[in-house]
Symmetry: C2
């Protein structure tokens, strides 16, 4: 096996420097006002005209000569002859002389001769006989300029309107509109070509052959979304296989079109070498390997005048490297500032050991404790997990010199974005369809279906708000029960029950392929108890009975998994729930009922989301009892 | 003049209630994964398959039977026969027996018979003669399951993947990709039809006839951008004139197409009545007039099953009402949470009086004082100003019971958006082209060109960081000078100087139409000083000389305004700078040089942006001296 070793890892600072030395800028776009929101001006814009462009009445009322009102008040109004009217959008066709006024609308052009206006509220129509309907009584005195907005008072031609580098807000669009500008020069979004490599990748929506080891391509769309979040424009390329020729062709095509090419490496080591070779032979390789975890096998270079960055293939690693090293560079090229207010301070929920001497980018979740302070816990399903980031809120950077973080130690969490809202409720425990329905009634909950036993353990450690526990539990529970329901469990078999399975004992006595659940699950606990009862009945060792069930030791993680093995023809009987059998149109052999209990962290009984869950549980219990 | 009076104003709470009673929801969209970022899920998504879909090698190395390695270590490795290899994306064609291993790539399918794998780093190829090339030495002992990710370990079929109401992040897109989901059901964006009314409105980009009182339509694009910011989809309708029939036609068309119709009222009072009548007669009017400033003439109602809200016509009023009452409703309909971290606490920079007994939405700017604490100052160019919001950072709500805010009083500023970054530098004073160039060299400065005298006054009040002052200044300056430059000023005349103007005295002696600058400007001060000198020379009263200049009293606000009057043919001579004359291709009669000085707030000399300005000024001085 030929392998590339990373003997001289670059420091994270050196990696940043290498990326900074690349040029990702996307040129200049001219965009219409409708598309200008959020874009960044590349030039100062000065006003080319006065706003308003004319002397303008600020209110509805009468345009007049200020000196004609001098000395007027409520008791002794000035009487002026109305000689015409001016509406908004009309050119005045009158010129006022001494003693004259014109009716005028808000926003209308002040007629010649007028130097002030008085609002209609401070006037009366003259109702005396001799005055006639054409006189107005002005009951206040005004000064020249009163209630008039002079041309250029808002913005004057030649004034600096918007500065270079302005990120255009709706309010700036207001200013641009007022100036009549309908197109602005803005920084082009850097175009980022995205190339995933690996023979095993299939685009979402396509058909997957799991037996060939195919998996859906996670990185392409995820990184594309990250690129757009950072202000870039993502271009997805058909993913390249592991062969050097094909990889080179796709990388060249992307480099032709884009300011930056981002590849995420194939999972095979030899493929990483292929990409490395393409860049080294055809372009310029600046850096290979960074002292960071995850993210060691990172590449930085140039290809055909474009910037190139190679991300690791594992989705979690790829995204962590992307947000730490690549997103800031894209934002800088797009002219966007680093998002502010994207960090929170919290305390470690439990001790975390680490001692590899590399900068660690640790994905974490956040939960509010009883005092509303953020508790921080690492999220790590192992390096192959594609989905754990969806269960995380941000990242804690742990320096290479740090061997472990104590429980309670203060840490700074960089949220994935300023929009991130840590969940209102953190639950752990059994996977259950009723629970999933209940969670729909809450706002932004997070539930980790780790199984009943690990859920209980985590609740004892004090991290989650609630744990959901099913089946018989050995130990005395210290936690309060928030509520619960019961579920019917048993054996799931093919539609119509072709093997004619009628009871649990047949698993022992007949030649049936069985699929069990993991020992962490409450279903497995109930099954083991039932097998133990059967052993007692038959007066044999429980171990012997278990051994005689084909597949008893094979434990699947989720509540539907055994049923799906039955559908796939990989098993005759699966452990599961009646609800699952009904939902998947399978037949069901009932074995028993088991309680599902929601236990609450004693510190969190007063938390709003816990009380909401309690209410939702009470509703469920009521509905169930009405059935 | 027929008028609608607002005798019974609704409370702001009642206005919110009326808006909440409207239904703005936009239905359900199905969007592709590429378009899913930021959208809000309308249904829970459960996993329909296991991720990974097979038992998967986590590293490069050898798949084997764990029990074959029991007891192996560095000194005493286990020797296994290599019987094949499995790459990612391949279906294994081997089944391992006791004592056998298969080379395996990261991500490849574990072959039948294997229950663990060992990374290549813990193995050696056997180099002894008798073993041959087909044996591997395993220098560690592994347990069943080691370095294998079992099918469904990441997500198992049937598990809850993403909850109802999830706002989709790039990480969620990762999870959806892993599950092969390429389309998701999301909340439709509420469509918002935007109708501006007023005969005087012209769309930006169109030709403006200022003499007819035409102005550019500010509200349409501004409110559209606000709608998109809030998660809605804006549809601009051709603006309606002030006639009832046309208004009705446009409103009906918008109501047909959209979930919400937003009009911004014409500036004429009668037009407001027309809209009011259309809604009252053709739809349902829920509310007319709210006790808030600005924003009193607000309408809430329904038309043809769509929601309708009428905003005031003045752009500042329209936007303040939009952000306070309408944007939250659009966000709610789009399923988006209120943006967090969008408020800052500061102190009033100066006293602000107010006593109208209505809730006041006061636009404010924010500047950091010497201690880096935010100072808050009101931004108000008068109710007709279209552009002042571009100079504001947020809003302070002042309750109806508050008569005045003291200087130093703590206030909460609601930023216009979480992205808003108050300016790094706040400058005030003279309008000057050299200054505009210097500002281009700073990051995010704000400059209010209020003129030299008002600038100096504001600096004394302690609000801005710097004031820019031109020409002779009477009083002793207490502030430090940061730097400065000089500018040549004089008389701007038509190209080729057709009137043959040669010196200032001709303004007095000849029949020339002159245009002056405002008394706030430093140019005006220098001109007055020069006229005074001429009066002394001729031994006449300065006042008499000024009186004899046609247009001496007409003062325009910005440095280019007089020159533009010359271009327009409204004047023969304008006060201005050589730089302006050159830029606008006009002729120039030099009168003198005047200093422009940048004065600094004594408290802010250490502020980073002030030091940056100092550096930029030093560069300018150097460049100037090199000319």
């Amino acid at each position: 096996m030929e392998r590339k070793e990373f003997r001289d890892l670059a420091s994270p600072a050196a990696a940043r420097e290498a990326i900074d030395s690349l040029s990702l800028e996307g040129g200049i776009d001219r965009v219409s006002l409708e598309d200008a929101r959020g874009r960044v001006l590349v030039a100062r814009l000065d006003a080319e005209l006065d706003v308003p462009g004319f002397d303008r009445a600020s209110l509805d009322g009468y345009a007049l000569r200020a000196r004609d009102t001098f000395g007027a008040d409520e008791a002794d109004p000035a009487r002026l002859e109305i000689v015409g009217e001016v509406h908004a959008g009309e050119k005045p066709d009158i010129e006022l002389e001494e003693g004259q006024a014109a009716e005028i609308s808000t926003g209308a052009v002040m007629p010649d001769g007028a130097d002030a206006m008085v609002p209609v509220e401070r006037t009366d129509m003259d109702e005396t006989d001799d005055g006639g309907a054409n006189d107005v009584l002005v009951r206040t005195s005004v000064a020249p300029g009163d209630n008039v907005m002079f041309a250029g008072a808002d913005v004057a031609a030649g004034e600096r309107a918007l500065g270079l580098g302005t990120r255009i807000t709706p309010r700036d669009i207001g200013l641009l509109s007022a100036l009549g500008i309908d197109e602005v020069p803005v920084r082009g979004r850097p175009t980022v070509g995205i190339v995933s490599t690996g023979d095993e990748l299939v685009r979402p929506g396509g058909d997957l052959e799991s037996e060939r080891g195919e998996i859906y391509d996670v990185n392409s769309y995820t990184i594309a979304a990250g690129v757009e979040d950072a202000g870039g424009e993502a271009v997805l390329y058909p993913h390249a296989g592991d062969e050097q020729d094909e990889m080179e062709r796709v990388l060249r095509e992307a480099a032709d079109d884009c300011d930056l090419v981002l590849s995420s490496g194939s999972t095979s080591a030899s493929a990483v070498d292929v990409i490395y070779r393409v860049i080294e032979e055809q372009g310029e390789l600046l850096l290979h390997g960074v002292s960071v975890k995850p993210g060691k096998p990172m590449l930085v270079g140039r290809l055909q005048g474009s910037a190139y960055i190679g991300l690791p293939g594992y989705p979690v690693s790829a995204m962590m490297v992307f947000r730490t090293f690549v997103a800031p560079a894209i934002r800088a090229a797009a002219g966007l500032p680093e998002p502010k207010a994207a960090t929170i301070s919290g305390r470690m929920a439990r001790q975390e050991r680490y001692g590899e001497g590399r900068l660690r980018l640790m994905p974490v979740g956040v939960v509010q404790n009883a005092d509303d302070d953020p508790l921080v816990y690492p999220v790590d399903k192992g390096s192959g997990a594609t989905t754990s980031l969806a269960e995380a809120d941000g990242v804690v950077e742990v320096g290479p010199e740090t061997d472990y973080l104590e429980a309670g130690e203060p840490v700074t969490v960089q949220l994935f974005s300023p929009d991130v809202r840590p969940p209102t409720l953190l639950g752990v425990g059994e996977d259950d369809p009723t629970l999933n329905r209940l969670l729909d009634g809450l706002e932004n909950p997070r539930y980790l279906s780790v199984g009943s036993r690990p859920g209980l353990r985590r609740l004892r450690e004090g991290v989650p708000d609630v744990a959901v526990v099913a089946g018989p539990i050995d130990r005395e529970l210290e936690a309060d029960e928030l509520g619960g329901w019961s579920r019917e469990w048993g054996l799931i078999v093919r539609p119509g029950n072709p093997d004619g399975v009628e009871e649990l004992a047949e698993l022992v006595d007949r030649d049936l392929r069985f699929v069990n659940r993991t020992t962490d699950s409450g279903l497995r606990s109930s099954l083991e108890a039932a097998v133990d009862d059967l052993a007692a009945e038959r007066d044999v060792a429980p171990h012997d009975l278990r051994e005689s069930i084909d597949g008893f030791e094979l434990g699947l993680r989720a509540h539907e998994s055994p049923a799906r093995k039955v559908i796939a023809g990989d098993a005759d009987v699966g452990l599961g729930l009646r609800e699952t059998a009904d939902r998947l149109d399978l037949a069901f052999v009932s074995v028993g009922e088991q309680p599902v209990r929601v236990l609450v962290n004693p510190d969190r009984t007063g938390k709003e989301s816990v009380r909401e869950l309690e209410a939702v549980l009470a509703d469920e219990t009521r509905t169930e009892s009405e059935r």
